[in-house]
Amino acid sequence: MGAFQLPAGVSATRIVRGTPQALSPPPRLAARMPPRGPATSGHLLRDGRSVTLVPAYLDHASTTPLHPVAREALLAALDDGWADPARLYREGRRARMLLDAARETVAGVLGARTSEISFTASGTAAAHQALLGTAAARRRAGRVVVVSAVEHSSVLHAAQRHERAGGEVVTIGVDGLGRADPAAFEAALDAHPGTAVAALQHANHEVGTVQPVAAVARALRRRGVPLLTDAATTVGRVPVDLAALGADLLTASAHKFGGPPGVGILAVRTGTRWANPLPADEREHGRVPGFPNVPAVVATAAALAVRATEIDAEAPRLAGYTERLRRRLPELVEDVELLGPGGADPAVGLPHIVAFSCLYVAGEALLDELDRAGIAVSSGSSCTSDTLTPSHVLVAMGALTHGNLRVSFGRDSTDADLEALLDALPPAVRAVRERAGAAGL
């Protein structure tokens, strides 16, 4: 798959180059913006463009900087794709051409048909539409929704909504590595013949475990039950082919692979019964109402197309980082528990995610220590969540939930980022343990 091309007849001549010094926000907005730091600290040159990052941004699984190719496409499409693509005059037709080209590109990368792809306002919205729309269309088949215990909260929240509306939710547990067993899905389907839809993520967002989606899809197909796969963690990171996965619905999120925020991808395979659970209009095949964000969708397609050309070369490099981190951690930090399968075998683990828990360490205090050292990572520990409950993924795995960190690498990541983390982590853990009086326990 080549890079995303603007369709013939659409000019990209009015690309506005980024000149932040020349542009000032309105005074009232400027008053609320933090002052710009000195250009020396955390100001890195990447792809020939200066990007302000902390010394080691290692939270690429939460979100990753806009890909430079997506940025160019976004700026061009802001000029050329501003009009309503549903209108028939020239500007509308131009926006429609851009939107159609973006849809074709995304469909091509994912191995789907153009008519199967819709763009939503987020990956979360796509997951909600996918699950609830299939449950609604298959109401007569049954009221049971089967989900793995380690789905993203967007899928679990949609399942909870289904339950509150009178449906039933059956949860499939996972093993110590976070992997769901296809046999457990089969047993659940046999025990609940009235299953409307099942959901199994392509890979887990917190520990990087790749799920046996194709095997579960085959088992479901034999029983006539559609499968939703949330692929937000994998699309644009590893090869994702809808036909190979065998899923009937797939969702993804643009900002997680270098696209802009505010775009989700919803794929509904031809022949899958689906009914919009919300008010609908004629936009996006009737799956997503309202005026589409054509420039952001164009940038999404550009990001996905260029990522498809990058990931083969990138995966071994990132797997090298994750393997080195997993090897060094037990040498550098006492009582650390590595989580998930690691990235050595792409069939079982993602190459860019490392998760671990440090005994006797409060996750929030550890994040603070690392932040002071310029390291940005995330945590599934209870003290870092708004609800003060631990990560449902870690609980389902039977893992230690406190002192948890997720380190995730991206296309910008370097050896220096990993070295900065390896330097900062041991003293950070030591400091938190000493403050809690837990050193040497």
Partner: protein, 79 residues
């Protein structure tokens, strides 16, 4: 005393993880090998973390014992 009743009790109610686990680790030495220590904790992370700590330290979490239940964790010291 090895009849299933705890030889020591650690009350960590109202404390947030990982403090209940730290308190448990600090006090496990107060009971002899084979004896039971009880942890009282109401933090939502305690159930998962007591089980993980017992697995990492080689102690036995008596989930099925009488008295074990929400907020009460019975741990048999094994080493």
């Amino acid at each position: 005393m090895n009849d299933g009743s705890p030889a020591a009790v650690v009350d960590a109610r109202g404390r947030r993880c990982p403090i209940p686990i730290i308190e448990l680790a600090r006090r496990i030495g107060d009971v002899d090998v084979g004896e039971i220590i009880e942890l009282l904790a109401d933090d939502p992370a305690a159930a998962a973390d007591v089980a993980a700590w017992c697995r990492m330290r080689g102690h036995d979490l008596l989930t099925a014992a009488p008295g074990a239940g929400p907020g009460s964790y019975l741990v048999r010291r094994l080493g």
